[in-house]
Amino acid sequence: MSDQQGEDQTLERPNRLRYGRFFLLLRCPRDGVVAMRDLQLSLNQTQRVRLEAALHELQALAPAAASAAAVTVADTIPVNQEDNILKGHGTLDRDGEVVATLCGVVERVNKLVYVRTLRARYKPEVGDIIVGRVIEIAPKRWRLEINFGQDAVLMLSSMNLPDGIQRRRTAVDELNMRTIFEENDVVCAEVRGFQHDGSLHLQARSQKYGKLERGQLLTVPPYLVKRRKQHFHHLEQYDVDLILGCNGFIWVGEHVVVSDSEKTSKMEDQKPRIELETFTPLETRKHICRLANAIRVLSALGFTLTVELIIETAEASASSNIEINDMLGAEFYVQTAEREAKRRADLLKKGGAR
Amino acid sequence: MHLLGRAPVIRRGGRWHTQFPAMSSSAATGTYSPAAEAGGKRREKREELRRHLAEDADWPRADNRSFHECREAFLRTGATTAASGSAYAEFGKTKVIVSVFGPRESKKAMMYSDVGRLNCNVSYTTFATPVRGQVIILELIIVLASITKGDLPIIISCASLALADAGIMMYDLVTSVSVNIIIDPTSDEEAWQDGSLMVSYMPSRKEITQLTLTGEWTDGKITNAVELCMDACSKLCDILRNHLKETANLASE
């Protein structure tokens, strides 16, 4: 194919959806986030038209202010020089002008002007609930990968011992660390803060934190998970635990009963159970997979992940008799985008009526 | 200590009936070249082999073997002194030396691991056409002193003998045999094969540890060939076993 032809085609159809990487530019109305995700799908002609229409609508719904605040690298950030502004993260002085060094949204807090990045790695804040994976056991501490620039540290002293008694940690406890968490274990914890040496520390001082078993871990871009009051969700109707880690690690697994006193005995019976290969009940497993696929679809479309939206998507697939695996097919992607566009339009109407 | 293992002779009821495609020999052009001459000779030889096969006669192979007969095997452990275990095997004209070094601590070990590593290195001596091996935890050095093709199964069998000699824990002695249309091919025979199949087998556990296959095969052929190889492997394993026992007896005396 000659270049000439290639150009013609591109002119006709800006997005070669069927095979090319297709970039979505979405703007969420609530928080004004511009999200860009690449989506790889084999769409047919109708699906392509429908998806374009849905995305167009989503874009139209976004408030204009959001796109104005968006900057890319080397963009000038308009400031009033007489205000003695403070140049924060992601900004640089160039010939008296403030320019952005990051792609993101300009935030202004009093005199401080900074750029909040959208597609960067996770940036921990104190109190965040995160899901991480143990990568190393060091003296008195575990090191965890949490999708941050450095490994997080969970001190043996920062977590409740399995026996639930508050006491000094002994040398024996230190030797038995591997019985609590071993390498590759998935652990849920809370961000405690940065220590003086610059390392990030975690804590797990409650029975709700700890090892996660019998389920799957999904990784999504961290900006899709917003900080909320609740990150642990026990979905009773499915008998499933859903943990939306602020770092973009999402756990979907079989529900585990947490009770302070019986924790010890329970952990001990679990070992032989695993050896007997008693698997997750089939119904629960179907729910886990359906929820997981809902999360995969939503994150590929670049929608903010909330527990309501995840459940709604999973329910929608179940009620229209879509097989779990077919949720990853083109048709369901398009349906999900259309549903979200409609939902946001409805939301806006209600807001306007009020 | 130089014990001569008897060659396993395998005979089975069924024989390979193989259809050969018509030769596509667009016989060399009129010009003379030594290469073309050699090619011509090879072709003649192939034709002869094919004729034999087509007649389904139990014709003698180039080295006077019958169809399902393996080459004469000579096995011996302790071929080299520096290694923790070693073995020498001679299958017809193929001669293999395998040395095992280790076990020792892995230098590459960066992470906690519950599995070891077996590093193999095979080298062909320059005069034959040699094998050298390296094991992170176990080092296996294999030197092929003299080559006829079809040597991989022999290396595998010889290596398991060497590992046993080194006192390494194993599930079973692994033996290996390959089959083309005839069992245990020499390099000439391999040159015109339509397909080959190699089986490595742990006879006492009845488990196949490796199976490779090339060429076009029907189901029945695969089943037959695998069974034939498994049978040959069991017999070869018995020989290895006997040899190891005898050496052990000699050592204890």
Binding site: K211, G253 | R205, G215, D219
Partner: protein
């Protein structure tokens, strides 16, 4: 390399035993396949194949060469695989050497057939231009761009698609009386298509627990005891087979796996053919 906790491993094994894998697939179900042809303009034929999170490119280049002395009536085919560091940081430098070599050998075994050419993907005698003097050398290169398991099947599929996309320039041979060397004139307008009907696909059955699955993700592959890759052509004939993984297999299990692979392969070939047709129509 994927590190998984005991709980996750148990969950994966359970899913395979219960016939619902982590993404909802059944044991013998493939991930979404997408195919694109003509991705590398410099090559005679090329294809990109995406199988879920696994993405590979195959390119076919044809160069004029001299046939080997052993096979004066045949062309030559070389298959190489490279794993790009874009797929995994560990592939940087020499990190992917072992894997690349393993994949190359497996592909050669499964696609090049026996020494006589039986079961080969390409009829080598069709690559001959002048007997004993000039032939086409095919360089088939596979590149792993993104790796999420089942690389071998994806590479074999990409090679099949790339070959169906390949056009070999038409050549006219004129023997001049002065010298013995034939003169070869390569056309840059007329191309000959390959007959790819006999090119096999590779179906890898990965054994996890007592069951085996097709198109394993890298997480599933970390749980395998062994895997058998069977290459099967359109006629249902097995053209190559390799086994990976430390665990031994019972012979009856292997025979069973071969027959399952044959069954699955026919569906996969049909799917691949329709994707090839769609991709070529798109182009």
């Amino acid at each position: 390399m994927v590190g998984l906790s005991e709980g996750e491993k148990h969950f994966i094994r359970g899913g395979i035993a219960q016939d619902i894998r982590t993404d909802g697939r059944k044991r013998l179900q493939f991930r979404a396949l997408s195919v694109e042809t003509g991705v590398i303009p410099q090559a005679n034929g090329s294809a990109r194949v995406r199988l879920g999170g696994t993405e590979v490119i195959a390119s076919v280049k044809a160069e004029l060469g001299k046939p080997s002395i052993l096979h004066p009536d045949k062309g030559k085919v070389n298959i190489f695989v490279d794993c790009s560091p874009t797929a995994e940081p560990t592939f940087e430098g020499r990190g992917s050497e072992e894997l690349s070599a393993e994949l190359s050998v497996a592909l050669q075994r499964c696609l090049l057939g026996g020494k006589s050419g039986a079961g080969a993907a390409i009829d080598l005698s069709s690559l001959i231009v002048v007997d004993g003097k000039v032939c086409w050398d095919l360089y088939i290169d596979g590149l792993v761009i993104s790796s999420d398991g089942n690389l071998l099947d994806a590479l074999a599929a990409a090679i099949k698609v790339a070959l169906s996309d390949t056009g070999i320039p038409k050549v006219t041979v004129s023997v001049s009386t002065a010298s013995d060397e034939p003169e070869v004139d390569v056309s840059d307008e007329e191309f000959l298509q390959f007959d790819t009907s006999s090119v096999p696909v590779i179906i890898t059955l990965t054994k996890v627990g007592r069951q085996y699955i097709v198109d394993a993700t890298s997480e599933e592959e970390s749980q395998m005891s062994s895997a058998v890759s069977v290459s099967v052509n359109r006629h249902g004939h097995v053209c190559g087979l390799t086994k990976r993984g430390g665990a031994g297999l019972d012979p009856t299990v292997i025979f069973d796996m071969i027959s399952v692979a044959k069954h699955v392969s026919q569906q996969f070939i049909t799917l691949l053919d329709s994707e090839i047709a769609a991709a070529q129509a798109e182009e």
